[in-house]
């Protein structure tokens, strides 16, 4: 890819990732966060986290299906880090606007409320991934170990979706579409491996010609 194209795509990715936050800041400054601003901020940061996580998990299947898109992987780190950034904003919203920085209230919430426990778990799973996102960390850890650690993103995404389901009222189906998308993306991985294995086997052991 040409350097200038790469720069342009990177800029566009940045703009797309900063956009949801920009909208919130603009809304706060102009009183356009809706009737319940706290809920608006919570929902926007939470759903952006899940959307960005989903996009980052879609990049590998996308380039497997269309090898011409393999350059997409260059943006995975950026998208992943933005997912962590929005997850942190989401957590900060809870700490500041719900718990009012009250440590006792937070401890009680984490112990008592499973959707909060699950959300915090998802954030804690993303934390080491964000911390080891630098090229230096990859080199230091070695590709294999780094890759294994970063498989945690699957677990984080699953925890994030469970957190969403546990937060909505029983019977409400809003988390369904992101759940199906993530399930397909996660399922595509073992399906791809199985398929590759079969292809390899077929190539390695040519079937005995009939008869």
């Amino acid at each position: 890819m040409k350097r200038s194209t790469h720069l342009l795509l990177k800029t566009l990715t940045w703009i797309a990732c900063v956009w949801p936050l920009g909208r919130l800041i603009w809304g706060a400054a102009t009183n356009h966060l809706g009737a319940d601003p706290t809920a608006t901020i919570t929902f926007a940061t939470g759903s952006t986290t899940l959307n960005l996580l989903t996009i980052s998990l879609a990049l590998t299947p996308a380039r497997r299906l269309i090898p011409e898109l393999s350059w997409l992987v260059k943006f995975r780190r950026l998208v992943g880090l933005f997912a962590f950034f929005y997850a942190t904003l989401h957590l900060a919203t809870y700490v500041a606007l719900y718990a009012g920085f009250d440590l006792h209230a937070m401890a009680a919430d984490i112990a008592k409320r499973r959707f909060i426990t699950m959300g915090l778990t998802a954030w804690l799973l993303l934390l080491p991934l964000a911390a080891t996102s630098t090229t230096w960390a990859i080199r230091k850890m070695g590709g294999k170990r780094w890759n294994r650690l970063h498989k945690l993103v699957y677990l984080a995404a699953v925890c994030g979706v469970i957190h969403y389901w546990w937060q909505v009222k029983p019977g409400v189906l809003t988390p369904l579409s992101i759940t199906i998308t993530l399930a397909l993306l996660l399922a595509s991985r073992p399906v791809w491996s199985l398929w590759q294995k079969r292809l390899r086997n077929r190539n390695a052991v040519p079937t005995a010609a009939g008869g």
Partner: protein, 323 residues
């Protein structure tokens, strides 16, 4: 910092109803005379009205000693565009967009069960049964947000007396309008319709329980439960059934929608109670609608601040068990 503050509006000035009325009149006039020079947004509103045909019609009202004082009213805009009315969509902004299709006339309310004789009341008769009172109530949603709403109606007890319930009637059930062809958004959740709510007879007879026809001095917008609903201000908002088509008097506690949906989360009583948490969040505090995000939190009051009038109903009851 970029964060702006919502201007403080005195409650006397907060009522934009004149502007609402004027705009509506303007729109009607504009369409009638075929003036086509309307902005796209306004045109869209004409073809897909946010409120029913009668919503916004002025009601004749009298003052009430049971009104709540000392609270800043929530704006008409927020009361009518931040709604939980799942038959018209699960998102808060959907009822305002979709509830226009609710046919609020003709409208009757069926009365059945443990009564002297089953009856059907026409909405026009119910509107004239008693003088309509302006009653400001705090409204506390189980989701931990709150509003202050100037309702219009009269005590539910006045209506119940007309129903002539038998002494065996211990509970009263309210059923909301449901037609899956009209409320096609209702399938966005797994709730079984119609919406059902209920009160114990003594709760229903408490003068604070309001049979409601309007808000801000005008006919209820559809998304707020037109043409007739109840408002039970000391209970979480979902207890206040909207768009009522049937009232049943029963000797047993009726099944109610959210209680059926999740017994551990939504009790039959569902009195506002800061010391009984919802399993998924604390009920100690609430977010007042219409305030800036840093100014929304406030303490939730026992019985939503109506303990003087209603606490005696629950004397000797374990409100943690009967939440």
């Amino acid at each position: 910092m970029l964060i702006g503050k919502r201007p403080d509006i005195p409650s006397s000035a907060i009522t934009p109803k004149d502007q609402y009325l004027n705009r509506r009149r303007f729109l009607r006039g504009a369409v009638a005379t075929g003036v086509a020079a309307l902005g796209a947004e306004r045109l869209a509103e004409v073809f897909s009205p946010r409120t029913g045909a009668l919503a916004g019609t002025k009601l004749e009202t009298v003052k009430s000693p049971l009104t709540t004082t000392g609270e800043e009213l929530t704006s008409l805009e927020d009361i009518t565009h931040y709604n939980n009315y799942y038959e018209f969509g699960v998102n808060k902004d959907e009822p305002a967009k979709n509830a226009g299709v609710l046919p609020t006339r003709p409208w009757t309310v069926r009365v059945e069960g443990k009564v002297k004789a089953p009856k059907t009341f026409d909405i026009e008769a119910l509107l004239k049964l008693r003088p309509l009172e302006d009653r400001v109530y705090r409204h506390r949603c189980v989701e931990a947000w709150s509003m202050v709403i100037p309702w219009v109606g009269y005590s539910l007890s006045e209506f119940i007396n007309q129903c002539e319930p038998l002494s065996t009637a211990k509970y009263v059930q309210f059923l909301s309008y449901y037609d899956k062809h009209v409320e096609k958004w209702a399938s966005a959740s797994t709730i079984s319709w119609p919406y059902s709510e209920g009160l114990r007879m003594d709760e229903a007879m408490n003068p604070l329980a309001l049979l409601t026809f309007g808000l801000y001095g005008e006919v209820l917008p559809n998304q707020d439960g037109a043409p007739i609903r109840i408002v039970v201000p000391w209970k979480y908002g979902f207890k206040s059934a909207k768009s009522i088509v049937a009232v049943r008097f029963l000797d047993k506690q009726p099944p109610t929608t959210w209680n059926d949906q999740a017994q551990s989360e939504y009790g039959f009583y569902s009195n506002v109670n800061p010391i009984v948490d919802h399993p998924r969040w604390s009920q100690k505090t609430e977010r007042r609608i219409g305030k800036a995000f840093y100014a929304q939190r406030r303490t939730t009051l026992m019985f939503n601040g109506y303990g003087d009038q209603v606490a005696s109903l629950y004397k000797g009851m374990d409100l943690k068990k009967y939440f």
